[in-house]
């Protein structure tokens, strides 16, 4: 991938401070900026990949949730699982959309990884205290081996553009149910979730968590392409073809998860992980049996990616 291409694939730091602050950004490893139009040239001259972004342009971008977990006393949940604020479903629903994060301290790295995982055009307003962690994360993302594999999905969701459908989509993604968003039912999938039909009445969307659970049980855990054990706060995105798979893992919990166990449908005897802050890690206790592959990821920080090969 060329320098320009990988830079374009990374989320963009929105920065309104003057170019005199360039050294601190350089020190943090930040290379790509979205800046007010009148400052763009100065930043380019300072050696940055600077994209002009005016206040009006920023305002029309879809605002995103701060990624992470929180206690939601106002929401009843069918499970003990923590409430995850995640944006993957928005990116899946509108891959061509333009998005903006407004992030408190401590969340920039996860947000950058989240946008990267879904290939989203996202701008990040961050707390200056996060520059270093953001720089480390973007540097890590930029060094990942290139991959252009298609999404793996277990079911289709027919997007009617409605709010209730969005919440159902959110809950499905959070449960690591791999979905493909379609405009009309797809014969490629056994399960097509279309709200307002006899099978998925609109009233069920009022309890999106329960509906997502029902869909999961329709699919059955045995038929799922991806299972994650050892955490309830990790969301995966799986891409792959007959020979290779790439699994992105986003950890929303705010603390490292160790010994995460992954089960993927398909036989992948070879694999390696790249974990933010840790670099390349070998997969542990890898087992290929009964049409599935299981392995342990030693540690997952905010983000990790696992590349697998069907050929030894």
């Amino acid at each position: 991938m060329s320098l320009l291409l990988w830079l374009a694939a990374l989320p963009c730091l929105y920065w309104t401070e003057g170019v005199e602050g360039a050294p601190s950004l350089k020190t943090a490893g930040i290379e790509r900026l979205c800046v007010p139009p009148d400052q763009a040239e100065a930043w380019r001259k300072a050696g940055f990949s600077a994209v002009a972004l005016g206040g009006a342009d920023l305002a029309v971008r879809e605002p995103l949730l701060v990624p992470g977990i929180r206690v939601r006393a106002d929401r009843a949940s069918a499970t003990r699982s923590p409430w995850i604020d995640a944006n993957g479903w928005r990116f899946l629903r509108d891959p061509a959309g333009a998005y903006a994060y407004d992030l408190p301290a401590g969340r920039a790295a996860l947000a950058a990884a989240e946008a990267y995982v879904y290939g989203a055009d996202a701008v990040l307003k961050v707390d200056p205290a996060d520059l270093e962690s953001l720089g480390r994360m973007t540097a890590f993302l930029s060094r990942l081996p290139a991959s252009a594999l298609p999404d793996v999905a277990d079911l289709a969701v027919v997007d009617d553009g409605s709010g209730p459908l969005g919440e159902v989509l959110n809950l499905l993604v959070r449960r690591n149910l791999l979905v493909r968003v379609v405009k009309a039912p797809s014969p490629a999938f056994r399960i097509n979730v279309q709200l307002g039909t006899k099978e998925y009445p609109l009233r069920e969307a009022g309890e999106p968590s329960a509906l997502a659970l029902r869909i999961r049980r329709q699919l059955t855990d045995e038929q799922r392409a991806l299972r994650i054990f050892g955490s309830e706060v990790v969301i995966g995105r799986l891409t792959g073809d007959a020979a290779h798979a790439r699994l992105h893992l986003l950890n929303y919990g705010g603390r490292d998860v160790d010994g995460l166990r992954i089960r993927l449908r398909g036989a992948y005897p070879e694999g390696a992980a790249y974990v933010a802050g840790q670099g390349r890690r070998a997969l542990e206790e890898q087992v290929v049996a009964e049409g599935a592959t299981e392995f342990t990821l030693p540690t997952l920080t905010a983000y990790g990616v696992v590349d697998l090969s069907a050929v030894k």
Partner: protein, 378 residues
């Protein structure tokens, strides 16, 4: 990894009083075979020796008497095994090559935990058999609980005191065996596996189980079965949620998973102290009581069947509702403060029937008419 998996589906429910409306499908995955005589129920099914001593614990200070405890243990184990001496009794279960785990219970800190005196005496007897301290492990799931209780000053150097996780955060899994687990979707949780501790499956050859006499909000009482089951597997808090509990079938199922079942060869119920409400915790002395007894068995079900009555009798003595009470008027879901303040409050429908269910799984004898209790006094 070259392994054979033995998968057992436990879907059928035995008939029992207060049967929960539906039992979940539990899938056991393990590559370990049962021993010729599995540790549970072991060589003495349905047999319990209960040793009591008024001098065993000072109720004013909550301190146990080391000398009395040692005598209680010697008398109890000799009576259980028919051995003439304590070393001979211990030799019936252990040999110098064994790697022994001592499953303690630290959840009732500070008032009701596995006594230092009992744990220390077990270690002393194991070492007297020729088992080096490096082959003895005192274990719990959570390091923060072990740290609070702090067994180290009471044990010889070289004995390991280990946990699988630093605390109950569901983020540390490396202490667990990814190939030995029970899989179940109980409440729609995403992580559907409960994995056995690696220490248990890959290092230990024998286990001594030292639970306490405790009330429990989800199981009615927690004793041998729950201590060794929930204390040896990951991700078990998921079994109770919003007033409902799947402990009825889950406790016994975990305890029956090999190699835990075969390796747990001795049950020592520490009933010097107990907690009759608010368990498994004992953060105040309000609900602490003093049975002043230690029970010995190889059969965890038999001891736990007796335990249910001990806890329930104490509750009745205080005018509190029974552990068998399932009435909605006493249920305040997830209201721990109300439960702590009022012994007539349940926060979950309790499942004391888990003991009988474990009996149906072959872990021991739950029928009181078939349990033989030998009472001794020191």
């Amino acid at each position: 990894m070259d392994r054979r998996s033995f998968v057992r589906l436990l879907a059928a429910a035995p008939l029992a009083p207060a049967l929960p409306e539906a039992l979940p499908r539990l899938r056991v995955v393990t590559s370990y075979r049962a021993a010729a005589v599995p540790g549970m129920p072991g060589p003495y099914p349905g047999r319990v020796v209960a040793v009591k001593s008024e001098r065993s614990v000072d109720t004013a200070s909550n301190a146990a008497n080391d000398d009395v405890v040692r005598e209680m243990m010697a008398r109890g184990l000799c009576a259980l095994t028919g051995a003439k001496t304590a070393p001979e009794a211990w030799r019936r279960f252990f040999m110098p090559a064994d790697v022994v785990g001592i499953k303690v219970n630290c959840g009732g800190h500070p008032y009701v935990v596995s006594s230092y005196e009992i744990v220390a005496e077990a270690v002393r007897q194991l070492m007297a058999l020729g088992i080096p301290p490096a082959q003895i492990y005192v274990y719990e799931r959570f390091q923060n609980q072990l740290d609070e209780v702090d067994y180290a000053p009471h044990l010889p150097e070289g004995v390991s005191i280990v946990a699988a996780e630093t605390a109950n955060r569901h983020a540390e899994n490396r202490g667990y065996d990814p190939a030995t687990y029970v899989e179940a979707d109980l409440f729609g949780e995403e992580d559907t596996r409960s994995n056995m501790m690696r220490l248990v499956s890959r290092r230990l050859t024998k286990i001594i189980n030292i639970p306490n006499v405790k009330d429990h909000g989800a199981t009615g009482a927690t004793g041998c079965l729950k201590n060794v089951a929930y204390g040896s597997f990951s991700n078990v808090a998921r079994t109770h949620h919003r007033g409902r509990s799947h402990t009825y079938s889950f406790v016994g199922t975990l305890a029956s998973v090999e190699p835990l079942r075969s390796r747990t060869v001795l049950q020592i119920m520490d009933g010097l102290r107990g907690v009759w409400h608010g368990g498994p915790f004992a953060r105040t002395r309000r609900y602490v009581f003093y049975p002043k007894q230690i029970m010995f068995a190889t059969d965890p079900v038999a001891i736990d069947r007796l335990l249910l009555d001990i806890v329930d009798d104490e509750r009745k003595a205080h005018g509190a509702i029974s552990i068998w009470d399932r009435s909605p008027e006493h249920l305040k879901v997830d209201d721990g403060a109300a439960r702590d303040a009022d012994p007539d409050v349940n926060i979950i429908i309790r499942e004391p029937g888990h003991v009988e269910y474990a009996g149906k799984l072959g872990l021991g004898v739950a029928d009181k008419a078939r349990i033989t209790v030998q009472d001794l006094e020191v």
